[in-house]
């Protein structure tokens, strides 16, 4: 790897991507559809399609599999996720959901898997495929799923319970995280596999608009060829690293939304004859939000830089997500607090940011870079 210059500024390509997504997000936020989608518990198909049309997911897939063959860049992906999440976290996850499936197969799958699965989803039209990592139990650890896969003949038999599986009902395929012979690994499972029981749509603390489901695997049989990467499995640690960096990017965007909304509110809200932002108690919270959002973004970029250099980013990704998890909760809390009673009312978005914010520390594997 060549020794690239160290630097903090976006390239032209990076800032034009940021601007494009920001513009798209802004056009979607007018009239507050993020609020409406949350209330209606439904993401607008139109919005998802518009994000998909940007082509960010499939652009780096080689042409032979249906993509455009452009250079893959984890940093570029963090920029995309931050901008989307600054609009709506549920949208950021839903609109980029196929990336987790596609990038994983592309980078870790066998040749056969790439040929078979990539063209199905690398299409001009958004087709849902999803990832099932989280499990509904106390002490859940993404690095050591309780879901188990056992090899029997030419098949793997998978048993276990998953939760927070976005769009599981409509997904053509699911990537399932399961333990096999003491190692965490990923399996490709067809949506209509009879061993897959998709439950009732979940009700969760945050992301009301994102359809997510519990999934039970009961003696779910998959061909041995559908273990990602083939017989010896895949680099699951790398998979986790990339999803952790993605969650950090989403946390950055979400926190930024809370910060910007609270900042503007504080300049307009007049009490005791002047804007509340003129008081240090509020102004200092806003200052803290400003630099912690930046810190979150820089931690995300640092981990993404390591990935982009082809280096193991275990430590950087872990610390970035730990930091983003803690800070997103703190800053979305600040957002509600600065608005006071108005922050508690669902007409203002900060209560939604607050509910969504808890997810950054908890959720795993729902997005990737």
């Amino acid at each position: 790897m060549e020794d690239r210059d160290f630097g903090f500024s976006m390239s032209e390509e990076q800032s034009s991507m940021k601007d494009t997504v920001a513009k798209l997000v802004k056009s979607m936020v007018i009239g507050n559809p993020a609020h409406d989608m949350d209330e209606e518990r439904k993401l607008s198909k139109d919005v998802i399609d518009k994000v998909w049309e940007l082509g960010a997911t499939i652009s780096t897939v080689p042409e032979e599999f249906g993509g455009y063959g452009m250079e893959y860049s984890p940093i570029m992906n963090t920029i995309l996720l931050e901008e989307l999440a600054a609009g709506d976290m549920a949208l950021a996850i839903a609109a980029t959901l196929p990336s987790t499936f596609i990038f994983t197969i592309l980078q870790m799958g066998s040749d056969e898997q790439k040929k078979k699965y990539l063209p199905l989803y690398c299409d001009a039209v958004y087709k849902p495929c999803t990832v099932a990592v989280n499990e509904p139990q106390f002490g859940f650890d993404a690095a050591l799923p309780k879901t188990k896969a056992e090899k029997k003949g030419g098949k793997y038999i998978i048993n276990g319970k998953k939760c927070f599986v976005p769009m599981a009902k409509d997904a053509g395929h699911l990537l399932i995280a399961a333990e096999v012979d003491g190692k965490a690994d990923l399996f490709i499972v067809e949506g209509n596999n009879p061993g897959l029981k998709i439950g009732e749509r979940e009700k969760n603390l945050g992301m009301y608009a994102l359809e997510s489901y519990p999934v039970v695997l009961e003696n779910c049989e998959v061909p041995a060829t559908d273990r990602v990467g083939g017989d010896s499995g895949c680099d699951y640690s790398k998979f986790l690293q990339k999803t952790r960096v993605a969650l950090s990017a989403i946390g950055t965007g979400l926190s930024r939304a809370s910060y910007e909304y609270a900042r503007e509110y504080a300049k307009e809200r007049v009490q005791f004859g002047e804007p509340i932002a003129c008081r240090q108690s509020i102004a200092f919270m806003i200052a803290e939000m400003a630099y912690e959002v930046d810190a979150m973004r820089l931690m995300t970029w640092k981990a993404a830089s390591a990935l982009e250099a082809g280096r193991d980013a275990k430590k950087e990704a872990y610390l970035a997500k730990l930091f983003a998890g803690e800070m997103t909760m703190k800053l979305t809390d600040y957002g509600v607090q600065i608005l006071g009673g108005h922050g508690y009312i669902r007409e203002n978005p900060v209560e939604r940011y607050y509910r969504n914010g808890r997810g950054i520390a908890i959720l795993e594997g729902m997005a990737t870079v």
Partner: protein, 398 residues
Amino acid sequence: MINLEMTQKMVDVRSGMNNMATSMLRPISRHYDEHEHEYPKELDMFRSMKIMARPKKKKEGEEAKPEKPGSKKLGSNLSMVIVIEEMCWGDLGLLLSFPNAGLGNAAIVAVATDEQMARFGDKWASMAITEPGSGSDSGSITARATLEGDSWVLNGEKIFVTCAERAEAAVIWATVDRSAGKAGIKSFVVERGTPGFKLEKLEHKLGVRASDTGTYVLDDCRIPKDNILGSAEIKQSTEGFKGVMKTFDNTRPLVASMALGVTRAALDFTREKIEESGIKLDYEKNPNNLSAIEKEFYTMEAHLDAMRLLTWRAAWMMDNGDFNNLEASMSKAKAGRYGTLICQKCCELLGPLGYSCEYLAEKWMRDVKITDIFEGTGQIQHLIVARNVLGYSSKQLK
């Protein structure tokens, strides 16, 4: 292009300085903590090192050339924050005692005329701003300078002057016209030994005891007319004062990097003890399944990374000639506060080892505290950040 992977050059600078800190600063760290006011003679060998040198002769009106972002060169400010972090990993008090590298030297290098440079360039110079009644509000200083014939006559008291005893000259801030407010504040070079210029006392401090901090008293102290730095003219605007404040945009990331060094020293020691106890830090387990000590450690390490990235960004912007008032204050606000909290927490986690003077952890907890105070307290940094992001003046947000 965004890339936060350290270049080979950065890695080399860091490891070179770390060797120096390990072999030269750490071994004498405790001694000068215990012998406050004793001059660290080991640092004499750095006397000839031109740490605060003027890079190139500047032509009238010519701005320093920003280094090209596209060049492979390591910018001088980024390089400086890496160096300072390593030196402070060694010892912050000793760093502050490096000969000929006082804040006064920075001021002289920045604004002195060639003739002044020839007279004062080789002298170790302290910087005297703070007064008993004037701390963060440096616009309210009362030390005064009166022009009498070919001399300035200075009167007043200056406290908390770093290197007060060791410096051979002092850059004294004084007002030439109190009614002009901030616009009337000028700085003057006063050499030690000048009649009427007295080192009144040396302080006994919480930390950074290797560094001598003292009080100057100026009693009808007469200095040559051309010892004034910059113009004597009182402009109607406060541009001059703002210019002085702007130099803080350059020094704040340096203070932030001091916090980085001390904090990393504390964390490195804590990691060593955690690992000696058999706990493996592998950055893998879900944070919910960690022991309290592991969780605390990872969280502190994450904050240290955040501190460093904010600091490096501010320094990198300076190297590119970008205005970094906001980012400089962000770096110091974060690094000063979290550095202090982390060093406190390390002592807590270390238990008896963190309370005993047999180890340096207790010293780091005392030393790091200064980084949230000098060159603008954490509260002042928050004010600056808040005014920037809110678009408020100092009148709108007091």
